[in-house]
């Protein structure tokens, strides 16, 4: 049975060096470009022949943008309007990358910690910069919950600080581990189908069972792809809300 981890291997297609940093064009880059192509063609279909009474593509696109705008409005409030394009790009890219990874012989871009941590680190930086620009040093009152007795503050502030620092970590690991675990499961069960089928006798008779399981896990992976993209965007909205409206 082939190693289920082989599907995550990065293969170089073309070498490229930017100022000494290895920026080779890999299969990850290829699939990010494919995701971009899919997103752009969806948007093009949705915005050409734009009418007041929307056709199907336009209605789909409008429901998507409305969904994200509602999510930002609900979680950040009116001050968050400026962040709707950012959250929207994040959500659309992650959901497209996740679903593209489900096609056979494709590569899941978000199954690498490097990719998801790049997203999460950037979001973390945005939250800090936005908070500092908007509130100055009062931003650090985020770590001091209201109405805590001063005695407890010595304990609570370090805990709050550490949990704030863990945000980019959990955000990135949640997405990366979900994608990796799901795809490993798929590969393992698919491998069982082959190895049971080739074994002969009774074992070949039961090889449809892991096949049914693969189909079930595939459905689960579809749901997980969408939900993880939604949760990533939602948590970003919540963290931005903490930075913009300090109340915690």
């Amino acid at each position: 049975m082939a190693n289920p981890l082989d599907q995550f291997e990065i293969t170089r297609h073309a070498d490229l060096s930017v100022g000494g940093i290895d920026a080779a064009f890999t299969n990850a880059s290829m699939f990010m470009l494919i995701a971009l192509g899919v997103i752009l063609s969806f948007f093009w279909m949705g915005t050409r022949n734009a009418a007041l009474v929307p056709g199907r593509w336009q209605a789909a696109l409008e429901s998507l943008t409305g969904f994200i705008t509602d999510m930002v409005d609900e979680n950040i409030g009116p001050k968050g309007r400026a962040f709707v394009p950012f959250i929207f790009s994040l959500f659309i890219f992650i959901i497209t990358a996740n679903i593209l990874g489900l096609f056979p012989f494709s590569f899941t871009v978000t199954s690498h910690l490097a990719v998801t941590f790049a997203f999460a680190a950037f979001i973390f930086m945005v939250c800090i910069v936005v908070g500092l620009l908007r509130h100055g040093l009062r931003f650090f009152s985020l770590f001091v919950p209201a109405n805590t007795p001063p005695v407890l503050l010595l304990l609570i502030v370090p805990i709050e600080f550490i949990s704030f620092l863990s945000r980019p970590l959990t955000l990135s690991i949640r997405l990366f581990a979900n994608m990796t675990a799901g795809h490993i499961l798929l590969k393992v069960f698919a491998g069982f189908v082959i190895s049971l089928g080739a074994a002969g006798g009774v074992l070949t008779m039961i090889s449809p069972l892991p096949f049914a399981m693969t189909i079930a896990i595939y459905a689960l992976e579809l749901i997980v792809s969408v939900v993880q993209a939604y949760v990533f965007a939602l948590l970003t909205c919540i963290y931005l809300n903490d930075s913009i409206n300090l109340h915690h």
Binding site: N178, T180, V227
Partner: protein, 75 residues
């Protein structure tokens, strides 16, 4: 005990964490369902909270799986 045996044992023990996360996710949906059956009108408004709570709880189970994978393949 040599390092490889310890790694496999550690991976097996880390997998127990996923069972605990499974219990947590089950209790989350149980709470949602019992609330939704009592007050069906309010159920739709809480669906977003349900999905969000499920994802963050599931994440902890996946972190346990990640520890197992780290032990098996990255150490």
């Amino acid at each position: 005990m040599d390092a490889d045996a310890a790694k496999f044992l550690g991976a097996g023990i880390a997998a127990i964490g996923m069972g605990l996360a499974a219990i947590a996710v089950g209790s989350l949906f149980a709470a949602f369902l019992s609330g939704a059956l009592r007050n069906p009108a309010a159920a739709d408004s809480q669906r977003a909270n349900l999905i969000f709570g499920f994802a963050v709880t599931e994440a902890l189970g996946i972190f346990a799986f990640l520890v197992a994978l780290l032990l098996l393949f990255a150490v």
